[in-house]
Symmetry: C2
Subunit: 598 residues, 2 copies
């Protein structure tokens, strides 16, 4: 019948105001700060709800004084005391409990804390592996607590919205058949069947399509997905997506649903109003105007096609490229206080462009009275007005050009310049700028493998006018594909799906899966398509990335309770780790250690 004995809180550390003056309360929490002035102790007691100042007066009993002297940072304690209003001069308007303090009558130490490896709330300054090793301390920081709350709020709001619109959340299995395409599968060896494996799903794609064949009509799931990719940047072995699929829909139904969802969720969670409809850009327009298919629309600086002007100019490099079917694009960097468009800075911009294939970055400065100077200005003599009008340049601006035979490389190089300018010139508005990218190419050429492959995945529907030319001209086929972009990040990707066995097989073949292999891997989907599949489509916003952007972070590690580090290791529990021989024997496995390099 017994229970552990400790004084249980009657309220939290974020709740007391002067209305509670005189009440006897119990608080449970952690010593956040601890100051002694002789026999007078001030303790900032913290829990998830806030901080309350606890005072051990200098007239406190010797026993209480003794406990107070024993306290250190992050000791977990129970305080019983009386709420008293602070004198006006001591009121702290920054704290929700800043009107009061609690005069301690007794303090119990619930647990002690070893010397801290870093100060709580010092997150950003602490080496990440140390934060991850002691994640239980890092999680106590205000930042992590706020972000995990935001994540909770965001996900719950998504669930409520979709549920209110007749979507069922349905759990799909996480131990499935290995059907690798694109990324590698994580495998789970079977103990019962030697030599056989389950795979962790890269996404619930096939299962959600099968749910549609199963008549489930509207499905969603906050789904964990797994990809065994090489660690780079912000990738995690496992990540979370809001997986959505609907039957009897066309593209715009999916887009409208998502617009409604994010409108509702941003209003509820962020108190932020989004436009009812998001801007839509075709893939081609996005590349032409912003140089990439995930444009950051928080600032303008569009790219312009200046092929015509380049032809008229006397700059041989440009003229040659245009003459050979290439592209010259320009943008205008606006004059910005405190930024000098120096040679050094232009070289930095050029370096950014070169990463994406540009040979160089041509430039022209716009001087007083709209005179052009420097760089390639001399080649545009007589074309000044036309050029200024074309790129909408004003006094003090800098015009930048990239020329390239390859359209994508031309776009991407100048996009890198645009991105750097956005940051350096502080052009980026504080805003959430969503847009749709539509009409994507269905296939892209795999140079290494020497064949076409799906740009998105093999289950996306080609647009109807390309159905006759899939095989003869895969490169020009557009699909019913759509990406949702937010502030320069791709945050969701989706498509209308194929639901026809023969069309699906044609796509498999174009992607270099012969009928036998396709049947082995995806036979269960093809089978399902033989039994009255409905037209269907869906989308899958990435939860980690969405919450990262919403909380103004630049790494998804900041919005995941227990992320792996960039080496795919968890420094807290040291996973992955070696296992017992018995476990290997049970799974019929022998490790084939790579030979050490000579």
């Amino acid at each position: 019948m017994s229970e552990e004995v400790f004084s249980q809180r009657t309220t939290t550390c974020g709740a007391l105001t002067k209305a509670d003056n005189g009440k006897i309360v119990v608080l449970n929490g952690w010593v956040h700060r601890d100051r002694n002035h002789g026999a007078l102790h001030f303790i900032n007691l913290r829990d998830r709800y806030g901080i309350t100042q606890v005072v051990v007066d200098d007239d406190a009993s010797p026993a209480l004084q003794a406990v107070a002297s024993e306290l250190h940072l992050e000791y977990c304690i129970a305080v019983t005391g009386i709420v008293r209003q602070r004198p006006d001069s001591m009121v702290n308007p920054e704290m929700s409990t800043g009107e009061i303090e609690v005069k301690a009558q007794s303090i119990e130490i619930l647990s002690r804390c070893a010397p801290l490896p870093f100060q709580i709330d010092d997150g950003k300054e602490t080496r990440e592996d140390l934060r991850l090793k002691y994640r239980y301390l890092d999680l106590r920081s205000q930042g992590m607590q706020q972000r995990l709350k935001l994540r909770h709020d965001f996900i719950l709001a998504c669930r409520k919205y979709l549920s209110s619109r007749d979507f069922y959340e349905i759990e799909t299995p996480t131990m499935i058949k290995s059907t690798p395409e694109g990324a590698r599968d994580f495998l789970v060896p079977s103990r019962i069947y030697a030599g056989k494996f389950y795979a962790l799903p890269q996404s619930p794609q096939l299962f959600k399509q099968i749910l549609m064949v199963g008549g489930m009509d509207k499905y969603f799931q906050i789904a964990r997905c797994y990809r065994d990719e090489d660690a780079r940047g912000d990738r995690q072995l496992e990540f979370t997506q809001l997986d959505v699929e609907m039957s009897f829909v066309k593209r715009d139904d999916v887009l409208s649903l998502m617009e409604g969802l994010f409108n509702s969720v941003f209003r509820e969670v962020m108190n932020y109003e989004l436009p009812a409809r998001f801007r839509r850009l075709t893939y081609n327009d996005a590349l032409n105007t912003y140089g990439c298919d995930k444009p950051d629309l928080r600032f303008d600086v569009p790219l312009c096609d200046v092929n015509e002007l380049a032809q008229k100019s006397s700059f041989a490099t440009f003229k040659d490229i245009v003459a050979n079917g290439g592209y010259v694009k320009a943008l205008c960097a606006p004059k910005t206080e405190g930024v000098d468009f120096s040679r050094k800075y232009i070289t930095e911009l050029e370096d950014a462009a070169k990463v994406y294939g540009a040979q160089g970055l041509a430039w022209i400065k716009v001087g007083e009275n709209k005179s052009l100077s420097g760089g390639v200005s001399k080649f545009f003599a007589g074309l000044e007005a036309e050029l200024l009008a074309k790129v909408d340049a004003k006094e003090g601006d800098l015009i930048l050009f990239v020329a390239h035979q390859n359209w994508k490389k031309c776009c991407a190089s100048l996009s890198a310049v645009r991105t750097k300018l956005g940051r350096d010139l502080k052009l980026i508005r504080k805003a959430f700028e969503f847009c749709w990218i539509i009409d994507f190419p269905l296939f892209e050429y795999n140079e290494e493998g020497g064949h076409w492959e799906a740009a998105h995945h093999m289950f996306s529907m080609p647009q109807a006018e390309y159905l006759d030319t899939l095989e003869s001209d895969p490169g020009s086929v557009k699909g019913d594909l759509y990406d949702l972009v937010l502030n320069g990040y791709e945050v969701a990707s989706g498509s209308i799906r194929i639901h026809d066995v023969e069309l699906q097989k044609r796509i498999f073949r174009i992607c270099n899966f012969d009928d036998k292999t396709a049947e082995e891997r995806f036979g269960f989907l093809l089978n399902a398509f033989r039994y009255g599949p409905p037209p269907h489509g869906g989308i899958a916003p990435g939860v980690d990335r969405m919450v990262m952007i919403m909380s103004e972070q630049t790494s998804i590690h900041e919005v995941i309770a227990f992320p792996k580090n960039t080496a795919a290791v968890s420094p807290m529990d040291d996973s992955p780790s070696e296992v017992d021989q018995q476990q290997l024997d049970d799974l019929h496995l022998i490790i084939n250690y790579p030979k050490p390099k000579a």
Copy 2:
């Protein structure tokens, strides 16, 4: 820009009433039934929302007649037509749309359906592996659709309730360190680190405790859990639990939270009123009164301790057992119309008892005027009134006895008899009867291993009065453990946790983990406990089992969209399966196939 062309529904198959009379509508769905009367076609069109009768009148165009003739069961079609009220004589009150029918103006075939391997809605009669192979057809049945909706509703209601009470849902990783204890871990080989593995979590136990150390205060998660156990009965490789943990709580806080949760959820989802507080039984009382720690309280038939009467009787078997410190327990099977307490039936009951270790089942019939007859009645001469009073027996009842040296075996054997009687005598009320089982033993003896082990898990707090005798008398230690039982199933299990390094190490040692092994496996938890851990506790209701009981099913397969079969195989996608040699090479694995048996 193009999209697939089909007529998109303007309403669903469950929505139309006579108020819609005269409207032009489009319906999308499946051919559920299809009857032709000459040129008159009746099509029951089905979607997730209901069934609507579509009529192709005999005056329809030849083109429409031709399409109608082509239809077969489960073809997916779009129907455009006009809603018309049925004549009064044709109104079907069983269908929500029974007042109307839709006169088809055109029908498009969206996809065809191969001959069905079984009829939709024939679920219960179809062999399970066939249902699982064609799960996309099985999911179209009304039963599966209703159950997956119930599951969705249940889980959403749980989330809303806990969120409204300041719980954050926090995702814990599914690729963690292998810390096997109890069941086997599923392993995931690392590609980057040859010979190292992640494990899939058997539960988020350690991570939720670490979240408490991280100050998260109140956590929940609908968590997927994985156990590599031998397939038996209703086990799944992966299952779902509502994982809950709270800081600064005592046992009754957790119990109250769950009572509030299930009250709210059953009201919302089932329109069912539960009692505000659930009955609480100690482990000892549960065994004494119902013979087991998961009693079905939908019927009474309590077990009685009849040691005293047995001693007074002249039945040597009973007297010996009592004299040697054993137990004699009895129950009274109530007279039931249509049930004959024949020798044959009593033998059946005895067989049930013997499974749990009983040597036999003694019995006495209560005849007219409360006379005792048959079985061991002669040994109770003179004790009739006392016996009848003790077991509360009436005319026509049957008194049944089990005697055993071992208390648990005595209880379990008679419990099996009680369970069978409940079913056979149709004593079971249609109700949801929750109860708590508390004050569990902390340890149980592992005969095979020759050491003590945790009855629940090693992180549960011993009750305070046993702290000095943990090592000297583990068998008598009670823990702050609790199970929630519903209708004879354990549906949740939880405890107040240890949060002290030294106490945790003592428990590890008693459970045969030396300090080195404990540190290797659970070092990260012990480390966390060095940094001011709060008192905490939690619980984890099983979602699959809860929804199974709520939907009056006897297998969790019925409430999981894509379960594995009892051989741990998915007949739909044939997982687990062999993988490419390249995948094995990437993971540094060689298969050690077992030698074929001679």
